[in-house]
């Protein structure tokens, strides 16, 4: 890819990351491309798996959605051939699991689990994660409140008001 095209692609990604609902036409204006080129470029990014999807960032408190989330520290005895991949992939397949990350430090995997009640989450961890052969130990942290997710602050700070006219 030419350097210039790569720049435009990055620019498209930045725009979408901020607002995925913006029209191709407006993106085209902002990056100086034709609308068709933008369309093409985005579908390529989707095909290559660079864009994995488009989601709204929802504040569950405001939406009145009562879910429970917990971060689970998981200590794993790594396997000879597969390292952590096998067990991580296995955990990833559960729909209750929202993210799985390999981390440095005392524990190996950091797993985000979501359920309807604390009980449900606790059972899930005990039955589906702790019980795995390679898992040596887990610690569960229930999330109490979220201040910022995916780069978005939930309770936006109050912004000072500018004058309508300044020369």
């Amino acid at each position: 890819m030419k350097e210039k095209d790569r720049g435009k692609e990055e620019e498209i990604l930045k725009i979408l990351e901020d607002n995925a609902r913006i029209s191709d036409e407006e993106i085209a204006k902002m990056v100086g491309m034709e609308k068709e080129e933008v369309k093409q470029s985005i579908s390529e990014l989707e095909d290559r798996g660079v864009i994995k999807g488009y989601k709204a960032v929802i504040n569950p408190d405001k939406a009145g959605i009562e879910t429970v989330q917990a971060l689970i520290d998981v200590k794993v005895s790594s396997e000879r051939n597969a390292g952590y991949d096998n067990v991580a992939e296995r955990i990833s397949r559960f729909p209750e699991v929202k993210s799985v990350r390999l981390v440095s430090g005392e524990y190996d995997l950091s797993v985000l689990v979501e359920g309807n009640t604390m009980r449900e989450v606790a059972y899930f961890v005990a039955e589906k994660i702790s019980s795995l052969e390679q898992v040596r130990n887990t610690v569960t942290h229930f999330l109490l409140k979220s201040y910022k997710e995916n780069g978005k602050i939930y309770e936006e700070e109050e912004k000072g008001k500018r004058l309508a006219v300044t020369l």
């Binding site: 620019e11 930045k14 725009i15 607002n19 913006i22 407006e26 204006k29 902002m30 990056v31 100086g32 700070e157 912004k159 000072g160 500018r162 004058l163 309508a164 006219v165 300044t166 020369l167």
Partner: protein
Amino acid sequence: MKSEIIADRVKGLEGSGIRKFFDVAQQMEGAISLGVGEPDFVTPWSIREACIFSLEKGYTSYTSNWGLLELREALSDRVYKESGVYYEPEGEILITTGVSEAFDLALRAIVNPGDEIVLHEPSYVSYKPCTVFAAGTPVCVDTEIEDEFKLRAEKLKEKITEHTKAVILSYPNNPTGATLSRKDLEEIADVVNEHDLLVISDEVYGKLTYEGKHTCFSSLNGMKERTILLNGFSKAYAMTGWRLGYAAGNKEIIEAMMKIHQYIMLCAPITAQMAAMEALRTNDEMERMVSEYNRRRRLMVEGLREIGLSCFEPKGAFYTFPSIENTGLTSEEFAKRLLLEERVVVIPGSVFGACGEGFIRCAYAVSQYQIREALERMEKFLERLRI
């Protein structure tokens, strides 16, 4: 009481007619304002946080009249890295309360009554009055859309007399968004040399250059000695309310400016100076804001063209300056009616000099959402005008 209370210089100042319109604009509920000359971003958090920390540590005193040495050192480094001109932190840099103060000091330091100061129009509204306050005579050069609103060396030359003391250069330009290339600047530098002039270069929008790179005027051959470079934190770092800027130039001039500054201002606020040091530590947030302005710039320019206004392509600052000539309205009528009928605030071009007539200034330092909404309202207004 004396019958003549107010000094002639002040009384003679024009511009009150438009003030009523601005008052209405300030009050109008539900208006979208493209009339704002400052960033819509709040100062980046790391800068605000550094300021709060400085207060907690008790930095609440005066500083050296020159400004904190550490800040002058950081500025000296920054200017050197970015434009290759070296200013000594001690003696060649003065920290001021905004470019506004620095500009006033510059004029007062160099102008004798009757000296002529050449300035190009359309441009920032303060230049002419400040020149008058400093007992100088402003001499205006019109710049034209056909010339991309550039100050051309030949046109500058025509205005030079034996009384000319200095030229004000203001690029990237408020209100047009015009920039000058290195070559354009070199041609001006030749005239400056030939006629033994000084230059006051207001580069407050320098960081907000979207095509090509901003050239600092004093970096041109031989120009450091002749130039008073003015810059600040207001626009690039979204710090308008902090009131912080600086002047850099040769020792003799900066020393003279410092003499005035120490009596009228003492020093720039220490809180703002502490924050500015943090601002200079990294450029990441600033660059993020600049790329966002650039997106909005394109959205705005394309949008204005689509609704039928011909629009010069601005390459810097955060203003567009579309022509409204084909509507048959004056720029003031246009702005007034647009405000009353569609509640969009724009600034009549005539505010920035007589040659700004026929244009309006629309700032794109507003969200993409507001740009869209404002353009829709303007389209409705224009459609009504055409019927």
